[in-house]
Every structure is written in structure tokens, then in C-alpha cells.
């Protein structure tokens, strides 16, 4: 694509045609304040915070929506630009409650951060502030203080574009506009937690994390998601010994900047009172709590006893498939050290006839990031939205680009559910059942094969 030369704050930068001023600025590390802009979402240009001065333009232009043009000269911190940005900030703050001390977003709030740079110390607005009624959209997202909302519509666009279900929308007009779900509905998307991350203010906050901790009190530990079988990267935030919340860690190759709800909120189980936190032994029909040394000795003696009496082959280990590869490798090492070869992770598989006939480990066959650009996709026996929400999101991107997707359902009803993306309860045209086609299941086709056939619809 043609390269275009532009100048931002006096720095020359070369960007491909069709990019925006915001993209160009990001490329050279110039920060332009913004709220509604998000690299993974469509351009809304509604917050107006990214107004910059562009030479020859009569008025300030939004950097997020202005395409670059050859020879363009952009000033992001000129008097005109800063006046415009400060003007927008003043408008954003007049109806914002400024309740930072009791707001969960405090400390990680874009509005708070930018208000330091662009806000005035006192407001010229002296009338009553707008109050927006709170909403209940389920157990994960808290919409208790919708007065804080600045109407950037990131959450709405996320629903439409990434999650595939428009569950939040902006109703009303003008000052009465408010974000809400369709009359009394809850937000049920498997990716809903990402709206909490996207919200630049404290309007959408995490319900389980509500009033639990301040962001600056939390230590960050990198980790891997246990539930989406994708190995999504995440950050576990801990306060003292306790896990307080889980956030995605950006990794373009896997989870981009998203995280599925099951991985985001499963940490609650760690702190559950029902959880087994100390080893126990059952003696005389009763469970007794013991220390680790006792328990380990008991197990070691038990295993040694079994080996002695029945041979090492009598020992087998089944490892949860939710474990990481490292944990599985350690478990296998342990079992093999005991002299047994009976170790497996396939808890729900009953037919093992294919073992030994297939070479190598069964895997996806391609990097996860390539899913977006597949020409044809055949899904067999999986309810992707529930099983692998982020894979489903990637396939959705592929379908949006006009690729075909087919479902080979285990059950009819699941197909219908899968078609419920976009909210309709019947399979859309792109989700035709492969079952009706005589040629049946076909392996996932790579990019290489179907170059010419990349029409909008699946063939089978």
C-alpha cells in the first residue's frame, strides 16, 4: 500500500494510506488524549477529546477519524488543539459526579488521568448535575453509577463488533441518552467482562471486585488462563495472599486484549469458603485435617504399598485437562518415576482406537491468530461461544470479512444456539448445517487452498 508522509508535532512519519492521524501518532509514540477510540473497535469519533490542529483545516479535527493525507501537518499540542481538548474535557466533567474517592475506577480511570492534564481546578458549571438511574445487568457487570458514563459507546461497539451480540445500547437522546440493556435484560455474553476493561470511567465496574481493593494496592502476577483452552495470557492481581481479580494480559497471538468471563471471574472460586485448603485424611469414616507432611507420607506409603502388593502397573493418574502443560509433565514424571506408564488427561474419552495411528499430538494445526483470516471453517461438535469464547470471537471476525463458517453439530439445538449470534434465534445463512451436505465433514481448510472460492457463503 502506498506510503504517505505526514508530520506530527514536527516529527516526520511515514504511514500507509488509509490510516488515521491517531494510528500515525501511535506509531511514533505521540499521545493524543482520547476516550471513545479503541484500537480494536470501530471509529465513533464521539468523545471529541482527540481534536488536533491540522494545517489548512478551518477547525480542529478528531485524530481518530481523520485519514492521513500526503504532506499533512498535525499539531497535537498547539494552542488551538489544547483549547479544543480542554473545552471537551470541561463538557465531559459538568455532568460527571467526580466521586473518584468512592469510585472503583479511581486510580485506573482515563477520565481521571486526563482531567489532571486538561481539566480546570474549578467548574464554571453551577447548575444541578444529571443523574442517571442505575441498572442491573446480571452478576458480573455493575452498572450502579451510570451517572459517571461519558457516552463513549465503547461497550456498545464491543457488543456489536467483538462479542457479536448487541446487549447494551444507547437509548434516549441528547442529555437523556443513557447506556442500557434492552428493557430489563441482562448482559449474557461470554465476553462481557471486557466491557468493564473498556469502560474509560467507573460506569461499568466489576461486580465481584466492587469495593474490594484499590488498583494501586494490588501486585500483578502474570499467568495463563485455565478455562478457555487457549492459554490466554492474564494478570492475576493479588493483595497480600489473596487473589483480588484477574485481568487480560495483551497477547496478539492469543487473546488480543480480551479475556473470557470464565477466566476473568473464576478466581472467585479460590476464595470460596467451600474450598479445600488443607490436606485431609479419612480415618474411621471421618475426615480429619492433617498437616502436609503427614498427608504426603500417607500417600507415599500408600503408593509404595500398592506397588509392592499389586505391581507398579496398578497405579494410574488422570490429570485434569485444565492443568498447564508444565503441571501435566510433572505429573507424568511422578507416575513414571513410580514405575507406571498409566497417565492420561482425557477424562471424558472412551474410544482410544486412534492412538498410535496418528502421528504427533492432536492440535489446531495453525496459530490461533490465523483463525481470523481463514477462508472456510468447519466446526464439528463444539459450541464455540461457550467452549472457547475467544476462538468464537476470532471466527466471527473471519465471517465478518465474508468467509464461510459451517457447523457440524453434535445436537441440532446447539446449532440453533450458535446461530444466535447477532441475537436472532435461528441459524444465519453463514451457519448452515453441514449435516445436510453429502460430502460431510471436511478438515479445516487453510488459507492456501481456497483463494478463488472466498465468496460470502459456505459451501460444503
Amino acid at each position: 500500500m502506498a506510503q504517505i508522509n505526514i508530520e506530527i508535532d514536527g516529527k516526520a512519519v511515514q504511514v500507509p494510506a488509509g490510516q488515521t492521524v491517531m494510528d500515525a501518532a501511535n506509531q511514533i509514540g505521540v499521545y493524543i488524549p482520547h476516550f471513545c477510540y479503541h484500537k480494536k473497535l470501530s471509529i465513533a469519533a464521539n468523545c471529541r477529546m482527540c481534536l488536533v490542529q491540522i494545517e489548512k483545516a478551518p477547525k480542529p479535527m478528531p485524530a481518530c477519524a481523520t485519514p492521513v493525507a500526503e504532506g499533512m501537518k498535525v499539531q497535537t499540542h498547539s494552542e488551538q488543539a489544547v483549547t479544543a481538548q480542554k473545552g471537551v474535557m470541561e463538557f465531559l466533567l459538568i455532568n460527571h459526579p467526580l466521586d473518584c474517592p468512592i469510585c472503583d475506577q479511581g486510580g485506573e480511570c482515563q477520565l481521571q488521568d486526563l482531567a489532571v492534564g486538561y481539566g480546570a481546578s474549578a467548574s464554571r458549571y453551577q447548575e444541578d448535575k444529571r443523574v442517571v438511574f442505575h441498572k442491573n445487568v446480571g452478576p458480573l457487570i455493575s452498572m450502579e453509577e451510570m451517572t459517571r458514563c461519558i457516552h463513549c459507546t465503547r461497550c456498545v461497539r464491543f457488543g456489536q463488533e467483538i462479542a457479536g451480540i448487541m446487549e447494551l445500547g444507547m437509548s434516549g437522546r441528547g442529555e437523556h441518552a443513557e447506556i442500557q440493556s434492552f428493557v430489563g435484560r441482562t448482559v449474557d455474553s461470554e465476553l462481557s467482562g471486557n466491557m468493564i476493561d473498556l469502560c474509560p470511567v467507573g460506569a461499568l465496574t466489576s461486580k465481584p471486585f466492587r469495593y474490594q481493593a484499590r488498583t494501586w494496592e494490588l501486585a500483578r502476577r502474570k499467568s495463563i488462563a485455565p478455562h478457555d483452552s487457549l492459554g490466554s495470557n492474564l494478570v492475576v492481581q493479588v493483595k497480600g495472599e489473596r487473589v483480588m481479580r484477574v485481568l487480560p494480559l495483551e497477547n496478539e497471538a492469543l487473546n488480543e486484549c480480551w479475556l473470557s468471563d470464565k477466566d476473568r471471574f473464576s478466581y472467585e472460586g479460590l476464595n470460596s469458603p467451600d474450598r479445600l485448603t488443607a490436606p485431609m485424611l479419612k480415618q474411621g469414616g471421618e475426615w480429619k485435617e492433617v498437616d502436609w507432611q503427614t498427608a504426603l507420607r500417607y500417600v507415599a506409603e500408600g503408593l509404595a504399598g500398592i506397588t509392592k502388593e499389586h505391581g507398579a502397573d496398578a497405579i494410574a493418574a488422570l490429570v485434569s485437562p485444565h492443568s498447564t502443560l508444565e503441571e501435566m509433565a510433572l505429573a507424568a514424571q511422578l507416575v513414571r518415576g513410580l514405575g507406571s506408564d498409566n497417565v492420561d488427561f482425557r477424562l471424558r474419552q472412551t474410544d482410544f482406537r486412534a492412538d498410535g495411528k496418528r502421528r504427533g499430538a492432536p492440535w489446531l494445526g495453525m496459530p490461533v491468530a490465523d483463525l481470523n483470516s481463514l477462508d472456510r471453517i468447519l466446526v464439528v461438535g463444539s459450541f464455540l461461544r461457550k467452549d472457547h469464547p475467544l476462538v468464537a470471537a476470532r471466527l466471527r471476525q473471519a465471517v465478518k470479512k465474508g468467509r464461510g463458517t459451517q457447523h457440524r453439530p453434535r445436537h441440532r439445538r446447539r446449532l440453533a444456539d450458535a446461530g444466535a449470534r447477532q441475537g436472532n434465534r435461528r441459524p444465519g445463512p453463514l451457519w448452515r448445517s453441514a449435516g445436510r451436505h453429502p460430502r460431510g465433514a471436511r478438515e479445516v481448510e487453510g488459507r492456501g487452498r481456497a483463494g478463488g472460492a472466498g465468496g460470502g457463503h459456505a459451501d460444503g
Binding site: 471509529i43 465513533a44 469519533a45 464521539n46 468523545c47 471529541r48 477529546m49 481534536l51 478551518p58 477547525k59 480542529p60 478528531p62 477519524a65 485519514p67 479544543a84 473545552g87 471537551v88 470541561e90 463538557f91 465531559l92 459538568i94 455532568n95 464554571r124 458549571y125 447548575e127 444529571r130 461519558i150 457516552h151 445500547g169 444507547m170 434516549g172 437522546r173 441528547g174 442529555e175 437523556h176 441518552a177
Partner: protein, 442 residues
């Protein structure tokens, strides 16, 4: 007041009710809107001529450019130029849209055209469609004029039955399907991209431009949108030539324009005059000031345009360039006349309330700013104004104008600035004395 003497115009109107210059509304008596009457007035001659002679589309667009017909919806963009923006050789679907979502306070011309001369719009759209190679058109009609929408539907039926719309019009190769579409009364849906969103079944919110509708319009396809009055003027141009249309008006301001005169005049109503007609003459056509009072101020182009003081207005001609020189804009041609009994603070309050209510809420300066403007003006009007309020209003107007996605922000800000500029003493009086400068007995 003398308002009681005014009786609204009901059909049949006296001959020349729209003024001696009338071209679009020539010989309209309010009842002769049907196809047969339109044909008697020479209707569809232009379309028939084009189809019979197979006039090349470029020639029609060139004729439109010669005519200097400027968009009648408010922005005054040259129609011929707009038509020439449609991508040539584009093989996909293109759309033609007529913007009849007339919602600007003070404007009521499109309603009259649609109910008293609907076929002129249909013919104009068919010619435009021919010139741009478009096969499908829609007329987006304001949701609060339901009877007009129904009448337009009836006119469409007549035109279809007579072969002026539909497949192979008048036996030619040209086909054009035209449909009526009614909105639900939101002012913002008169903004062309919000109108498109609304037609697509979405919330009426303006799109960010670029891309412009000529490249990304209805359903993402190239689309041309013109005002009702613009389309209604097209048949005349085709029949008489662009040159003749230009001569009706002034250079760069071709043709006639329908002005909706309202406010403190004896005979409020629509008057069609040549571009460049002196304001004084238009005022005279509307029966002059009510009760012979003094002209205090005039908003020459609909509520979103700056107000012009009476003495300046009396010297002004009614065309795009002259009014721009007087510090305002011709806009949609809604002439709101205010005599010396009008309190300018209260007038501005009413306008500010309108924009506060009609802001779509999409972008920040307009969503938050219109409410703030309204509240400050409201407190001035109610004797709670502060000395710094006038500067605050100006500064707010600055922060809104030019910072929004569409022109509604500008529309809310411009009147504020103009009212304060021209009638600052009156605002100051409200603040200082906590009551109105206009004496109660007037």
C-alpha cells in the same frame, strides 16, 4: 394583539398566493395537486423530453451547474456539483434520497410543496435519477406531517399508474423506483447522514464525514441527498434551461426560493420570490409588520441561523451571498420576524431549549453544551443571571461550534452568539434589573 385577525390560508387559494415570481408554486391553489392538474401545468414535460431525446446525463448535470441551483435544505451547496460527485461507472446499487425531514423551527416550505405540488418532486427526482444513473429513490418525510406523507404516497401511485415511475418509464430503457418513507419527527434526522441511519432502521445519529454519502451513503452505497425544494426546481430548469433559471436570480444564486415567513407579520406564509429580492419586498408580500410595529430583528434562515437586527435586515437582499454579508445565513429560507414587543432573552431561551431537546447525544460538546446553554439562558430570563453569564455563554458557544460531528452543535451555538452580540443591552438589563427590558405595556 392583532394576531386574532390572522386566518390561516386554506385551499383554494387566490391566484398568485405564493407571489408573482412563483415558479415551483405557480398556479397552485391548494387543490390542484393531482397528476391531471400537474400535466395541465406542463408537468412531466421535462422528463418526457429527456427520455424521448435520450439526453446524455452529463448534459443534464452541466445544465444544473449552469443554473446555479443551490441546495435548498440549508447548507446551500451547489446541486449540480453534488450530482457530479456520484462515482461514474459504478456498477452496484446507487440511491437517490429526498430530504423532506423538515424540522427546523420556522420552516414549512417542503410541506407545502409535498402536499400542493407533489409531482414536481417526483419528476425532479426522476430526472436526477436519470442524470446520475440511479434506479432506486426514497423520499424521507418528516414524521409529524402524516397527512402530507399520505398525500405523497397517493401521488406516487398516480405517477406509477401513468408510467412516470417504475420499470421502463415512458417506454424508455430508464427505470426508477421511488418510495416514500416517513420518519418519526426527530430534528436530527434532517441531517443527511442521520437521515440515512434512520432509514437503515438505526438510531438517527449523524455519521462522521468523510466518507461523504456520495461514496458511502444508504446501506454503504453511493447516495445523493437533496432537499425537496431542490428537486422541485429541477423540472423548471430542464424545461427552460439552466441559463434562464440563473437569470431569475443573481449570479451564483440562481432561481427562485420559497421563504417561509413567520412571526410578527400580517400574513405569515410561504412566498416564492426570485433570489436577490430585497427583504423589504418580501416583508411587504407578507403584509408588512403586524399592527405596523417596528422590525426589531429577523432570523433569515431558520432557527439555527444568527439573528440580524431590523435595520440591517431592511437593507438586505434575499440571497445566499447578501445574507452572508449581513452576518447570517439563508439556511432553509425560514424568515422569522420579530417586532419590538419581543424579548430577545425569551426568544433565545426558546431556541436554546429546542436544541437542548433535539441534540442526539452522540458527541460530547453538543450533548453537554446545549443543556448548559439552555440552563444559563434560563436563569438569565428568570432574573437569576450573573454578570459573568454573557461571557460564559459566548465561551460555551465557542467550545461547541466546530467541535461536533454534525452541524447541530453549530446551529445551537450560532444564535446564542448573534443574540448576545446584537442585543447585549437587553441581556444585561435582565441580569442587572432581574426583569425584562421590553415594557409590559407594549
Amino acid at each position: 394583539m392583532s394576531a386574532a385577525t390572522f386566518t390561516p390560508m386554506t385551499p383554494p387559494f387566490a391566484p398568485g398566493a405564493y407571489g408573482p415570481d412563483a415558479q415551483i408554486m405557480k398556479d397552485i391553489d391548494g387543490l390542484n395537486w393531482r397528476l391531471a392538474d400537474y400535466l395541465k401545468r406542463g408537468g412531466y414535460d421535462g422528463l418526457k423530453k429527456i427520455l424521448a431525446e435520450n439526453v446524455p446525463p452529463e448534459k443534464i448535470i452541466a445544465e444544473m451547474k449552469t443554473s446555479a441551483l443551490r441546495g435548498r435544505g440549508g447548507a446551500g451547496f451547489p446541486a449540480g456539483l453534488k450530482w457530479s460527485f456520484m462515482p461514474k461507472g459504478y456498477t452496484g446499487q446507487k440511491y437517490l434520497v429526498c430530504n423532506s425531514d423538515e424540522g427546523e423551527p420556522g420552516t414549512f416550505k417542503d410541506r407545502d410543496i409535498l402536499r400542493y405540488n407533489p409531482h414536481s418532486v417526483i419528476e425532479g427526482m426522476a430526472i436526477a435519477a436519470y442524470a446520475m444513473g440511479i434506479t432506486v429513490g426514497y423520499n424521507y418525510i418528516h414524521g409529524e406531517i402524516w397527512d402530507t406523507y399520505e398525500r405523497f404516497e397517493e401521488a406516487l401511485d398516480e405517477a406509477r399508474a401513468a408510467g412516470y415511475l417504475g420499470d421502463r418509464i415512458q417506454g424508455s430503457d430508464f427505470s426508477f423506483q421511488l418510495h416514500a418513507f416517513h420518519g418519526y419527527g426527530a430534528y436530527i434526522c434532517g441531517e443527511e447522514t442521520a437521515l440515512l441511519e434512520s432509514m437503515e432502521g438505526k438510531k438517527g445519529q449523524p455519521r462522521f464525514k468523510p466518507p461523504f454519502p456520495a461514496s458511502f451513503g444508504l446501506y454503504g452505497k453511493p447516495t445523493t441527498i437533496n432537499n425537496t425544494e431542490t428537486f422541485a426546481a429541477v423540472p423548471w430548469i430542464i424545461n427552460h434551461g439552466g441559463e434562464a433559471y440563473l437569470r431569475l436570480g443573481k449570479p451564483n444564486n440562481g432561481g427562485t426560493k420559497i421563504f417561509s415567513v413567520s412571526g410578527d407579520v400580517e400574513r405569515p406564509g410561504n412566498y416564492e420570490v426570485n433570489m436577490g429580492t430585497p427583504f423589504a419586498k418580501l416583508l411587504e408580500m407578507a403584509g408588512g409588520m403586524r399592527g405596523g410595529r417596528k422590525l426589531k430583528g429577523c432570523i433569515p434562515g431558520g432557527s439555527s441561523m444568527p439573528v440580524v437586527p431590523g435595520d440591517i435586515m431592511m437593507e438586505c437582499d434575499m440571497d445566499y451571498d447578501s445574507i452572508a454579508k449581513a452576518g447570517s445565513m439563508l439556511g432553509s429560507g425560514a424568515v422569522i420576524i420579530m417586532d419590538d414587543t419581543r424579548c430577545m432573552v425569551k426568544s433565545l431561551l426558546r431556541l436554546a431549549y429546542f436544541y437542548y431537546e433535539e441534540s442526539c447525544g452522540q458527541c460530547t460538546p453538543c450533548r453537554e453544551g446545549t443543556g448548559w446553554l439552555y440552563r444559563v439562558i434560563n436563569r438569565i430570563e428568570h432574573g437569576e443571571g450573573r454578570n459573568e453569564d454573557l461571557d460564559l455563554l459566548n465561551s460555551l458557544a465557542d467550545n461547541i461550534q466546530g467541535r461536533t460531528i454534525c452541524a447541530l452543535g453549530d446551529a445551537a451555538a450560532m444564535p446564542v452568539r448573534a443574540f448576545i452580540k446584537h442585543y447585549r443591552d437587553e441581556f444585561q438589563h435582565h441580569i442587572d434589573h432581574k426583569r425584562c427590558l421590553v415594557p409590559v405595556y407594549v
